[in-house]
Amino acid sequence: MVTTYSGNGRSESTGDESGRYRVKLGVENLSIHYGSATALENVSLDIRENEIFGIIGPANAGKSSFLKAINRMDMFNPEMKVDGRIKFNGKDISRIRNVYSLRRRIGVVFPLPVGLPLSVYDNVALAPRLGGQKDRTELDVIVERCLRRAALWDEVKDRLNSLGSLLSGGQQQRLTIARALSQDPELLMLDEFSIAVDPVTTMRIEDVLKELKNEITIILVTNLVQQARRLADRTAFFLEGKCLDVGITEDLFTGEVSDQRTRDYVEGRFG
């Protein structure tokens, strides 16, 4: 499905765009409410295949809620109400009846590493097992591949059977990434993954992401503006539940923005 539909109708700066790209995730008029509180209001944007899409913005901007809506996590929270449309590979996700298969195609990494109380091996093998994979040699291959891609293999290959929750914070976060990759996702969503990770590990993970971009699409929610600048092809700026700007990342930093508040934020004047 090739489309040149441009997100919110606003003309995006052209720069290095070929004009033809596949839309991985199309978001139209997305609003999210928790009871009477509004978390996200009327957001429309497109996320393209094989790009790293950055989302920046201060706390309470609706960034995490945005990710939750994409993964249909509203199913587990009766308070959360999602309006508008999200299309994954062109399919309206609110009409997908087997939401489990949708979630399996989307890997999620949380701000704080969640090492499940399982061994390192079982942490990574969990998603394939949930999908019905029982073959031990097959699992071995998946576990090694994912740990390697998450730049963790060398550190844990001798203790695959020790508890994942006993690893250091940075290792656990890479374990979480390995776990997300074990789903063989088409889309990887990272929610402020570097919050509990040291700078060196952060750099290693960033390198991993740059490589992964060749195979999958990545949404990178971050409150480190410079991280978005380093990694993201395009970036959206969220503020108080609204998407104020979407565009080529570099344009946001060189001042080609449609909203003054975006410039103020990326230049560190607030937030």
Binding site: N71, M73, F76, P78, Y100, S101, L102, R103, R104, I106, V108, F110, L112, V114, G115, L116, P117, L118, L126, A127, R129, L130, G131, L163, S165, L166, T176, R179, A180, Q183
Partner: protein, 289 residues
Amino acid sequence: MFEASQINRRNLAWQKVFRFMLGAMTASLILPVALILGTLVIKGTPVISFDFLFTSPTNGMTEGGIFPALLGTILLVLVALLASVPLGVAAAIYLSEYAPNNWFTRTINLAIINLAGVPSIVHALAGLGAFVLFFRFGTSILAASLTLAVMALPVVIVATRESLQSVPLAFREACWNMGATRWQTIRRIVLPNAVTGILTGVILEVSRVAGETAPIMFTGAVFFLPFLPSSVFDQTMALSLHLFVVSTQVPNMPEAVPYGVALVLIGLVLLMNSASIALRMYLRGKKKW
């Protein structure tokens, strides 16, 4: 520069007072336990022997052993566990993991709390009406155990629910995000980490059930039985009732016998508990976060 000011000194003085008071209260708690156990061990030990444990009572129960009662209590507890643990754990899983927060769930929670508050003699009469008469189990091990099971359900449900709730939500969310269903999440992540708490509930249940007298008096336990039960539809003797009988109902009872029976009852509960405590420690050593 580190001298204590007036207010520092006063805080320290109060800290000492409270520390002493709280410690003294804790120590006073140990007193009754030590007293009971001490008395039982001292006065009961002399009658404990192989014959006491493994033969039937003779001569109007003043001689012989307590084997039918010992076996009866073990059977009653086991059948009660078989009935109440699966049911209680299932209910707790539903309440903790699935139930929406609505009036129906709140009603069930209220019912559970109320069930815990029902006096055991009322459970006894309810069991008599329900299991003995309505379901026609007669006065039998089955009827008595089911009565005990109903009585112990709230303990199992509450303990299981608490231990399920103590598994962090983040674990569940991580699993859901991977495309796991609620049940897959429960089976692979939540339950394995809640098992120790569930076993705590079982331990509490064993302790409570083994010692109960009223609920089994009308429903399955009897004063004296010349033979051992051969199925769950037979009546049985039980340690708790036997203790009541030898303490109050039989003339010319040697003084040491009731102490011996009580000691065996407590010992049995401790033994059953220690099995699940050992299992719990084994599991706790394996799982950690």
